[in-house]
């Protein structure tokens, strides 16, 4: 690119990789616009949570709070039980995630490394469930959970979600890449299949397990329809996403948008922070589970 002895640094100007052309300026501008448009709503949410109630109602809108205040975050706790809701969310997400990891590793290992009658048919049936929108099974599932006495409880929220086809698919994809020799050698040594899976195979697919854990945690932290249906009326058990909607109905008519935005900010933080730290795994696993196959 740059001739020997030329003084210009290889990387070119600012964030351009080489001497920018006019097309590069357009690309850079587009990227900036997209980034701003993508980030804007969440930035607006945080800014609004720092405003006074009057500022959130101002016409035309005030973009920045005059004197940013964390008061709204304190006030949220007066309306909903923030600590309890966050704890409920964490319990739902953590237990569901643990269940999904164990059941997916086991089934994924069976599908990747064992031959048995009906393997392909069973796998196809499981994968088909991945494409079923939850609303299709919601009504009988709600009755079933009621019949076994788990309606209104966190157990009722968690139990139906302890296994899913996506997890099995992801684990099968990655476990298939573990060398057979390694597994055969362990079998020769008399190790049980369970032991082989959890002691030898699982550590080799740690990145995939991490990705699945993050996906599952974020998905079940955010999930709304099922907990709302199972827990109806039992506010003690509400995860934060459902408590937020109570904040809104409390807020209706009153000037408390800053409160709602403070609550929303609290609900957004855990999944967003997880993502920022572990995004590498997320993206890799989407790529390998999606189109590579």
């Amino acid at each position: 690119m740059s001739a020997a002895g030329e003084w210009r640094p290889r990387r070119g100007l600012f964030f351009f990789r080489s001497r920018p052309t006019s097309g590069d300026y357009i690309v850079a501008t587009l990227m900036l616009v997209v980034a701003v448009a993508s980030a804007f709503p969440l930035v607006w949410m945080v800014l609004s949570s720092l405003k006074t109630p009057a500022e959130t109602m101002q016409v035309p809108p005030a973009w920045l709070p005059e004197s940013p205040s964390l008061e709204a975050f304190g006030k949220v706790s007066g309306v909903i039980n923030v600590g309890r809701s966050m704890l409920n969310s964490a319990v739902i997400a953590a237990i569901t995630t643990a269940g999904i990891i164990v059941t997916s590793l086991m089934a994924g290992y069976a599908f990747a490394k064992h031959r048995f009658h009906g393997r392909n048919a069973l796998f196809a049936l499981l994968i088909a469930t991945m494409f079923l929108p939850p609303i299709v099974t919601l009504i009988p599932l709600y009755r079933m959970i009621g019949t076994i006495g788990l309606d209104g409880s966190l157990a009722g929220v968690v139990l139906p979600n302890l296994a899913n086809a996506f997890g099995i698919f992801l684990m099968r994809q990655f476990i298939a890449g573990v060398p057979d020799d390694l597994i055969d050698a362990a079998r020769m040594d008399g190790a049980s299949e369970m032991r082989i899976l959890f002691v030898i195979v699982a550590p080799l697919v740690t990145p995939a397990v991490a990705a699945l854990a993050l996906f599952a945690f974020v998905y079940h932290w955010n999930s709304y329809l099922w907990p709302l249906t199972v827990l109806q009326g039992n506010a003690d058990q509400y995860p934060i996403v459902i408590s937020l909607s109570r904040l809104l109905s409390y807020n209706r008519g009153a000037m408390n948008t800053n409160l709602v935005m403070a609550g929303a900010t609290l609900a957004v933080l855990p999944p967003l922070v997880l993502f920022v730290f572990l995004q590498r795994f997320f993206v890799d696993s989407i790529v390998s589970s999606g189109v590579k196959g």
Partner: protein, 296 residues
């Protein structure tokens, strides 16, 4: 394969298979069965009474039940169409923006785009309901700077549904962009080099190489986008309650209202079965369409 291995295979499969069987396959079968019954969701399954196709006649009939359901079906179809029509081209554009290597920052952009996908829909709905606010919302303010008059967004029957499409696409677009980027990395750079030597310009390369080779990715994206689109619930449940004038009454919201809140389990199940059958038809048609393109 020894006998002990066979034994352990089933031990490995049992937890996942029995959970998915009990909580997805069984309810699925029950939904189909219940769609042929008169049944209240408040009572046990044994109280169901067989009524043949009466539920289906009712939800497609001329009464208010039929009108509401057909309205929800149309709203969902429109919603799905608009979502796919927005998601596919926008994700390709953003994918190219993330993938190109002339200007740095592609990975940072991917992170920003994908981060919205991690945020609970309920928070997204709350924030966007404020952004859309006709008087104190920043969107109309910005349109004003461009000389465009204020829009009613969520408060008018003609714009409410598309407003929800937009907030949903905003949330999900990072996921589809990542899929497109993955598809782009699969295209051999030698193809572009050869095309450049042959004198093909950027646009010719895009239509002759990029788009055809992204076809599998876009087919997958379309299927996921459709399945996501029929699931839209939170913005409707929280902000519009199906209104104004039923314009955002979509199927997931409507089925839950009928089958759970009004406890009309038979009717709700018939609606769920209709949704499922429609999805199967649409997805098969999509694959047939893609295959037909391959043959040509």
């Amino acid at each position: 394969m020894t006998r002990t291995h066979q034994h352990s295979v089933w031990m490995m499969l049992t937890p996942a298979v029995s959970l998915i069987g009990a909580f997805i396959v069984v309810p699925m079968v029950l939904t189909v069965w219940l769609s042929l019954q008169d049944w209240s969701t408040q009572t046990g399954f044994q109280t169901a009474e067989f009524v043949g196709l009466d539920n289906f006649r009712e939800i497609f009939g001329a009464t208010s039940v039929g009108r509401d359901f057909k309205g929800a079906l149309v709203n969902t179809a429109l919603y799905t169409l608009m979502s796919v029509a927005l998601i596919l081209p926008v994700s390709v554009g953003l994918g190219l923006l993330v993938y190109q290597r002339n200007v740095a920052g592609g990975n940072a952009l991917r992170t920003i785009l994908f981060s919205t996908y991690m945020v609970p829909m309920i928070a997204v709905a709350l924030v966007w309901s404020k952004l859309y606010s006709p008087s104190e919302g920043p969107i109309n303010q910005m349109l004003g700077w461009l000389g465009i008059g204020p829009q009613p967004w969520l408060s008018s029957p003609s714009t409410a549904l598309v407003s929800i499409v937009v907030l949903n696409v905003w949330q999900q677009i990072g996921y589809f962009t990542v899929l497109v980027v993955a598809g782009l990395t699969q295209i051999p750079t030698s193809l572009y080099e050869a095309a450049t030597i042959d004198g093909a310009d950027g646009r010719q390369q895009f239509t002759a190489i990029t788009l055809p080779l992204l076809k599998r990715t876009l087919l997958f994206s379309a299927v996921i986008a459709i399945i996501n689109a029929v699931q839209v619930f939170e913005p409707v449940a929280l902000i519009t309650q199906g209104g104004p004038v039923g314009s955002t009454n979509v199927l997931t919201y409507h089925i839950r209202r009928v089958g759970i809140e009004r406890a009309q389990g038979g009717l709700g199940s018939a609606m769920a079965v209709t949704l499922m059958l429609s999805l199967i038809v649409v997805i098969f048609a999509l694959f047939a369409f893609a295959r037909k393109g391959d043959d040509e």
